[in-house]
């Protein structure tokens, strides 16, 4: 029994890192400009499809398509900001919800139209198979994804804390007006936040595509999980998202292991409700 428990923990941990990565973009966008990107999961889906098509049409392994796709996603994020988000920055919250909600529907509709609803899968990547570590079987794509997520999260954290640009971003998140008085152009920072936010979810998408099915609705559940992670970690906190991602991953697998696999999702969602009702600022929230 111990072996299965350790196995469960391992897989929860590994997927948790990926959850954290997905949530980082969401929390960053919210932290910087108070907008919840309901379409966040759809960008994940887009990146997964890009990775799939790069493999299917160009023969590119996700390992190699990662960099170009991230750049593309960064561009898409900035484009989204300038075309859709900037007009509604000062609009009432309802309008903001509906614009990102509309974006969700739009992206999903485009995916359904262009690529149909069939499930796709990248069959065999360079880094595939699994290995055994102290009796626990670890899938190589999964551990690569986890490592990739850790690296990406660390890079973002370092960027925010150590670089001038990153600190400017944090300044805008903390107090937009004061930041502007300091000469920081909030408009450019917002665009940057969107770029980075979508780029990170792009990384997650490419990583996931190495072992997860790709289909238009794939963004839905991951987006919901991302909301749970962001709420638990604290809206706006990148470190919080990282820790919370791991916790959510563990809650998911442990509730499946200890209680019932078909109720896994219920516990994750109940975690969201618990957090927002009991401790709305989450673990490390700044808002």
């Amino acid at each position: 029994m111990e072996g299965v428990f350790a196995q469960t923990l391992a897989s929860g941990l590994l997927i948790g890192f990926v959850y954290a990565l997905i949530a980082v973009g969401l929390t960053m966008i919210f932290g910087v400009m108070d907008i919840v990107n309901f379409a966040h999961g759809e960008y994940l889906m887009l990146a997964m499809y890009f990775s799939f098509w790069a493999f299917a049409l160009l023969g590119l392994d996700p390992l190699f398509s990662l960099a170009p796709i991230v750049v593309i996603m960064f561009g898409i994020g900035i484009l989204t900001y300038y075309v859709l988000i900037r007009p509604i920055i000062s609009a009432p919250m309802l309008s903001q919800i509906f614009v990102t909600f509309g974006l969700l529907i739009l992206l999903r509709g485009i995916a359904q139209f262009l690529w149909k609803v069939d499930y796709r899968m990248i069959p065999e990547t360079i880094l595939s198979g699994n290995f055994s570590l102290a009796g626990i079987y670890i899938g190589i794509p999964q551990i690569v994804s986890a490592l990739g997520a850790i690296v990406c999260n660390t890079v973002i954290l370092l960027f925010l804390k150590k670089t001038r640009l990153g600190m400017a971003l944090e300044a805008v998140a903390e107090d937009k007006e004061a930041a502007r008085l300091m000469g920081i152009n909030s408009d450019r920072m917002f665009a940057l936040a969107w770029g980075i936010g979508i780029a990170t979810v792009g990384v997650a998408g490419v990583l996931l595509s190495s072992f997860y099915y790709v289909f238009p609705e794939v963004g839905g559940n991951f987006c919901l999980i991302a909301f749970v992670v962001v709420a638990l970690g604290g809206f706006g906190s990148v470190v919080g998202a990282f820790i919370a991602g791991i916790i959510v991953g563990l809650v998911e697998v442990l509730s499946g292991f200890l209680i019932d696999p078909s109720l896994k999702f219920l516990f994750v969602l109940a975690l969201y409700l618990g957090v927002v009702l009991i401790r709305p600022q989450g673990l490390m929230g700044i808002k």
Binding site: V99, K116, F227, V228, A231
Partner: protein
């Protein structure tokens, strides 16, 4: 004012004579679906449009209504009409249990919470063996009668029942719109803090709106169960249903009495059209069109004046 009433009267008369003229099952079914979604849309509009609390979980009320009716009929032989009332009771209970803690939450957190609640309901009903789990419930076929809420020879009786529900929904919404409750709801939508400072019990009125929304959606669930005679978690607690309700009210006009009506008349035919004429090639086209409309409306009128019949420019 009079012109409006005339148009309304003609519209209702047209709806009443519709199935007498269009006697084929397909057009009747289409209009039944339109009226069903319009009624649920009116329910959504009360909490989402008038009160400004976006709910992506209204399918939960639909499912509760459907399942309550189905279980009471299948296991206890109770008439679906009684099942409808009891279903409403359960739905209102759900509305209160969910709303009471969650209405404290700000806009987007509440919206996400409703998604969570809807999905939790889906998981529960999928795993609850008493209500059939993932397989669901096949409702027992009974003799065709009004009391049994089942008709086998033609859809026309179903049509008039859903038409009555639709008119009921319109009446409820109209009454809310013109009452003090409507005032409070609009105040809550525009400026909750301001409303609170004027002495309006924001929590209480949000709950009232949510309860009304629950009732209207729940009776539609009951109707659906008796119309389709087979319910299971995916056709009742579907997140896409909640999302579709939101879509159709958004394109038709948020916070306007006929918004959901226009929305349903746009949504159902367009969805059917793309499915029938474009088949699998056109999958998603209807969603793209709706999304563009929603985004356009949301960005071009960000100050919140929705509706196709808006008169004031921003």
């Amino acid at each position: 004012m009079k012109k409006g009433y005339l148009a309304l009267g003609l519209f209702l008369i047209a709806l009443v004579v519709y199935p007498l003229y269009f006697t084929d099952p397909f057009p009747q079914h289409t209009m039944i679906m339109i009226l069903l979604y319009a009624t649920m849309g009116i329910g959504w509009n009360i909490i989402g449009g008038y009160t400004g609390q976006v709910s992506f979980g209204n399918a939960a009320f639909f499912g509760v209504g459907a399942y309550a009716t189905a279980v009471l009929l299948t296991n206890y032989g109770l008439s679906p009409w009684i099942g409808m009332v009891i279903g409403c009771g359960f739905s209102v209970l759900v509305a209160v249990v969910v709303g009471y803690p969650c209405f404290r939450l700000q806009g987007h957190y509440f919206a996400i919470a409703t998604i969570a609640v809807g999905e939790i309901a889906l998981v529960i009903f999928t795993n609850w063996q008493y209500v059939g789990g993932a397989v669901g419930i096949y409702l027992p076929i009974r003799q065709e009668s009004f009391w049994n809420f089942q008709f086998h020879t033609s859809k026309i009786s179903y049509y008039y029942i859903i038409l009555s529900m639709f008119v009921f929904g319109l009446a409820v919404c109209h009454a809310v719109e013109r009452s003090r409750l409507g005032y409070y709801l609009r105040a809550i939508k525009d400026d909750p803090d301001g409303a609170r400072s004027l002495g309006i019990n924001v929590q209480k009125y949000k709950l009232y709106a949510f309860m009304l929304s629950a009732i209207l959606t729940s009776i539609c669930g009951t109707f659906y169960a008796m119309y389709v005679l087979y319910i299971h978690p995916s056709n009742t607690f579907d997140l896409m249903l909640s999302i579709n309700l939101c879509i159709l009210v958004l394109i038709g006009g948020l916070g306007k009495l006929f918004g959901p009506v226009i929305g349903a008349f746009l949504f159902i035919p367009l969805t059917e059209l793309t499915r029938v004429h474009l088949g699998s090639e056109g999958q998603g086209v209807d969603m793209i069109i709706f999304a563009l409309i929603i985004i356009l409306l949301a960005t071009l009128r960000p100050q919140g004046l929705w509706g196709i019949f808006t008169k004031r420019a921003t």
